[in-house]
Structures are given as C-alpha cells and as structure tokens.
C-alpha cells in the first residue's frame, strides 16, 4: 500500500515538473522535491515493514532492490535539490531522473519482480550483502543523475548551460563512484569470500560490475586528468549508465551465474 502511494506521489511530482519544464523558464518547481522526499520515506517504510516480516534487511530480491533503488533516487534528488545551489540541477535533470525513478517503480509492480515476501536463502543472510546491495544502489542513484545531465549537455545548444550540466555530470559521478566502488566491488568481494571462499570468480554479474566501474574510471580520468569536456565525456557517462542498467537487469535475465536469485 505504501509503495502504491509512493508511486502515485512520484507521478504527481512528474506532472508538476513537466508543467514547469514546458514553461521554458528554466525555473525549478518549489514542491516536487518535497513530494519525492515523502515518496522516499514511504518506500523505505515499505522495506522496513518487509524487513521486520522476514527478520532480515529486505534487499534480497528484485522487487525489494527496485523499491530501494527508487527510494534512493528520490532521496538523492531531494538532497541535491536542497544542497546543490547551481542552476545545473535544472528542471530537465529533475524531470528526467524522476521519470527513471517512476519506470523502476513501475517495473517493481510488473511480473518481472514478484512481490511475495520470501525470507532470504542462507547465502544472502549476510551483513556484507546488505552493505554490498545498499551502497551499490546509492552509488547508482548518483549515476542516474549523471546520465540525465549528460543527455541534457548533449542536447542543449547554450554553452553556459552545457558547462553547468557537464559539471553536474562530473559532480554526481565523483560522489557516486567511491560509493559504488565500496558497495559493488569491495563489499561484494568480501561477501563472496565469506560465503563461497572466492573473492572473485568472473561471474557475469561481477564482470559487468567491473565493466561499469572501468567505464566510470575512464570517465573520471578523461574528465579530471585529461580535462576533457563536452561530447566524449557526456557519451562516456551515458555508456557508463547503460552498463549500470545492464549489470542490474541484463545479467539477471540474459546471463546466468552466482547472482541469479530472482
């Protein structure tokens, strides 16, 4: 029920953002980020409820992962809106990232992500798994912002706006990258060692997480060391996000391995 209300609230935020986007004044609406905050809290409440029922942190199946990812995107958008004083977090970026959040939450209501409350299998009952999953999604929530900002920077013709968006791409990847590294790779490897006695086994999910990490590593080196701006940099950020999405969904449904839990 709370997840359904959150879905309705995110729809409302999208409508509000779309209205401000269509006015073409580049002004951010004053309300949608508060709506997103409420949606995030409701989604986290959904997970707390499930956690109590299964007696473990509810981030162990596709439905719970999608809900957590959506909640994190809402929370990140709220935080960036409150903390980020620049014009870069434009109505377009807010709108685009909220749309992605909406799509993820809609997917959580689809047959692809059964809602049954199932306790986790023994391999998933690990503190390291909780760190692995949650931090990966927090990092990826920042990658969502970078993705939308990169699309914005490719589509705008105004130089000043492009520079703002380019900076937002770099900032959000700069924040997301260390969190993603810690969650996806470091704590994932520690969990694998604790559960199976092998910290790296070239499982498709592991390999794709590494590919994603390498793409963002390449982005950071081109952007921060080579001082590269513009198209190439934005395209790398977009490809990085495509790899993030494939790591989450594509590997689950197209490739098989240790992470095929449903």
């Amino acid at each position: 029920m709370t997840a359904t209300i959150a879905l309705a609230l995110i729809c409302l935020a999208v409508v509000l953002q779309a209205a401000f986007l269509l006015r073409r004044e580049n002004r951010r609406d004053p309300l949608s980020h508060w709506i997103l905050l409420v949606a995030a809290l409701l989604l986290f409440a959904t997970l707390v409820d499930r956690s109590i029922r299964i007696d473990f942190a509810a981030v162990t199946n596709t439905y719970e992962s999608l809900v957590f990812f959506s909640a994190t995107i809402c929370a990140v958008l709220f935080l960036l809106r409150m903390l980020h004083a620049t014009r870069a977090l434009s109505p377009f970026v807010l709108f685009g990232a909220t749309i992605i959040c909406l799509v993820l939450l809609a997917l959580s209501s689809s047959p692809l992500a059964p809602r049954d409350i199932q306790p986790p299998i023994p391999a998933l009952r690990s503190f390291w798994l909780v760190l692995h999953v949650t931090l990966s999604f927090v990092g990826e929530a920042f990658f969502v912002v970078s993705f939308v900002a990169a699309i914005g920077s490719l589509s705008t013709r105004r130089e000043e706006r492009r520079a703002d968006l380019d900076r937002l791409v770099a900032t959000s990847i700069g924040i997301g990258y260390p969190i993603f590294t810690a969650g996806a790779l470091i704590f994932g490897a520690v969990w694998a060692q604790t559960a199976w006695g092998a910290w790296w086994s070239w499982d498709p999910k592991e390999t794709w997480a590494l590919i994603t990490w390498l793409l963002y590593t390449a982005y950071l080196h081109t952007r921060l060391v080579k001082k590269m701006r513009g198209r190439t940099s934005a395209i790398l950020a977009i490809v990085g996000f495509a790899a993030t999405v494939f790591t989450f969904f594509g590997v689950n449904y197209l490739l098989t391995g240790l992470h095929s839990y449903g």
Binding site: Q118, P119, I121, P122, A123, R125, S126, W128, G174, I175, Y177, P178, T181, A182, I186, A189, V190, W191, Q193, T194, A195, W196, G197, A198, W199, W200, W202, P204, T207, W208, L210, I211, L214, L215, T217, A218, H221, T222, V225, K226, V251, L255, T256
Partner: protein, 338 residues
Amino acid sequence: MNRTSPPILHALFARRRPWGIVRRVKAIYRFFKSVRLAIVLILIIIALALLATLVPQGRPDEWYQGHYSAVVYRLIKLFSFEGFFSSVYFLVPVLLFAVNLAVCTVDRLVVRARNHARRRFGPDLVHIGLLVLIAGGIVTAATRQEKTWQLSEGEEAAISPRYSLHLQSFQYLQYDNGSPKDWISTVSIARDGAPEIASYPIEVNHPLRLSGITVYQSSWENQGILDVTQQDGSGTTATTGEGFQEGDSFWYFADVQRINGVWRAVFDQYKGDVRASTRMVGPGDAIGPFTVKRVSARMVTGLKAVQDPGYVPFLVALAMILVGLGLTFIQKRGDTAA
C-alpha cells in the same frame, strides 16, 4: 623505422649512439606513464571482458561443440574463450595496465616529491591499492587451493597435515514455508592430534578460520544408501551418484524418496546421453542383476577448505582503495569549497 613511427617504436628500434639506451628507457617510461594509454587499455579490457561474458566459462569441450556452430566453436577455441580470463589474450592487456598504473603512480609520487607538493595522495593510495589487488589476484590464481569433503555425523577429515576435523552434528534448518534457512555443521578441531577447538558451528556466511585455512559450509545432501544382493548371493552397497551398466543402458542411482514411511531408491535409465526412463525400487524389487535388500538415507554435509595466500594482500588492497577514495573525495571537496 621511419620518422612517422610512434615515438615508442622509434626509440626502441632506431639505431642510436651508446647513450641511446637511456633515451630508450626514457621513451618506454614516457609511453607507460601516459594517461591516454591507461584509458585505451581500460577500454580494451572492457571490450574483452564484455565479449567473455557472452560465452559461458569453464564448461567441458563437448558443451561448446553442442551449443555453437563449427565456426564459432573454432573461434572460441582459438581465442581461449572457454577460459578467457586466464588466457594470454586477457592477461596481456591486464599486465600492461598494471605496468601503466605502476609507472603512473611512481611518476606522480616523484613529481610531487620534487615539487614539495603535499596534498592529493588519495589517488596514489587508490592506485597503489589497485596494484596490490592485482598482485593479490596473481597470488590467488597461482596458489589458491581448495578441497571438499562430504561427511556424515561422527566422521572425520584431515583438512591439512596438522589439522583434522570431526563432524559432531549437522542441522538443516527450514523456514515455515519449507525453504532453506541455514545449514549448520558443528565440528571439533584437533591440531597435531590434540584438541584445539571443542565445538564450532560452521554455517553459510560463517566459516571457520584456522591459521591460513578457512572451512566453509559448501553443500548438503540427503544421501541414499542401497544394500543389494548380487546374483551369486553376495551383498554390496551403493550410494546416490553411483550406477551400473546393463546392456545398452546405464542405471544411475539418482535419489531416494520416503513414501508411506518406507525409503525407495530412484534410478534413472540412460541410453547414451538421453534419459530414457525413471524407476523407483524398494526392498524385494529387482533392478538389473541386483535384488534390493534395504534402502536408507543419511544427511551428509559438504565442507570446503580453502587456502588462499592472496586473501591478505586482497584485504590490504581493499583497505587502501577505500581510504584512498575517501581521501580523494574529501580533498576534492576541499578544493571545490576553496
């Protein structure tokens, strides 16, 4: 080597005066300290890793023959795609990347020492951590050993020349809906014959760590035991996973099932690679040249002992990378604020 050759090739192959060797070393150094090279190598590694995820790794040769056309199969064998991550096609770019990373790191440290610069050691820590991680990976790949045992309660296993393990009890816990909750093997450990650990529950995600060896809860099985009488009247025993040949068929002892309080053995009949039929037999039934005397079952636990000298460098590397990333973030934030 003409004038338009890349500088690294020109430096390596051009005829030089005696001091040319210094130039060559300098050219190699310049080549490997390049960030552009790092980016190119990262993109190559990405492309190779991506291709390798399209082909399942480590399957038997017949599997690849059965699942791919002759041309694709030949390509898979040619480029070692069945075990790509340990092949020369993948290891060479990774090795070049490691050299590139090492030279970049040394160069950054030298330049900063020369300029008496103080800050920005976060990225260096990350780079050194990555080098330690690659070294740990090489040590793991070269020296990691693992061994598995299937034990029932009361049985023992020698996990190393010094340590032996005795299985005191094995529990299979289930949730109310019947799905598995945990497998717990409670063991005692003796070192050089003397008791070392009186009782330790090995669970999934809760391994037993001895000096240099870690013992994991790896699997479990409801192992079927079949006592049969042969045609000459003598008795023999088989466990699940075994089988026998009869004419053009192979009878495989696949499982046991308890029906109305009586254990029965499940046999799969294979003709070639194809399963032709399944048959369930109990006491008094005949199967092939055997007559079933008794069917029973016992729970066995699968324990895996792993010795991985690369694990310590791996942990050190992770700590360095985490601290390095944190420092980089804090330093960058400080710069932005300034």
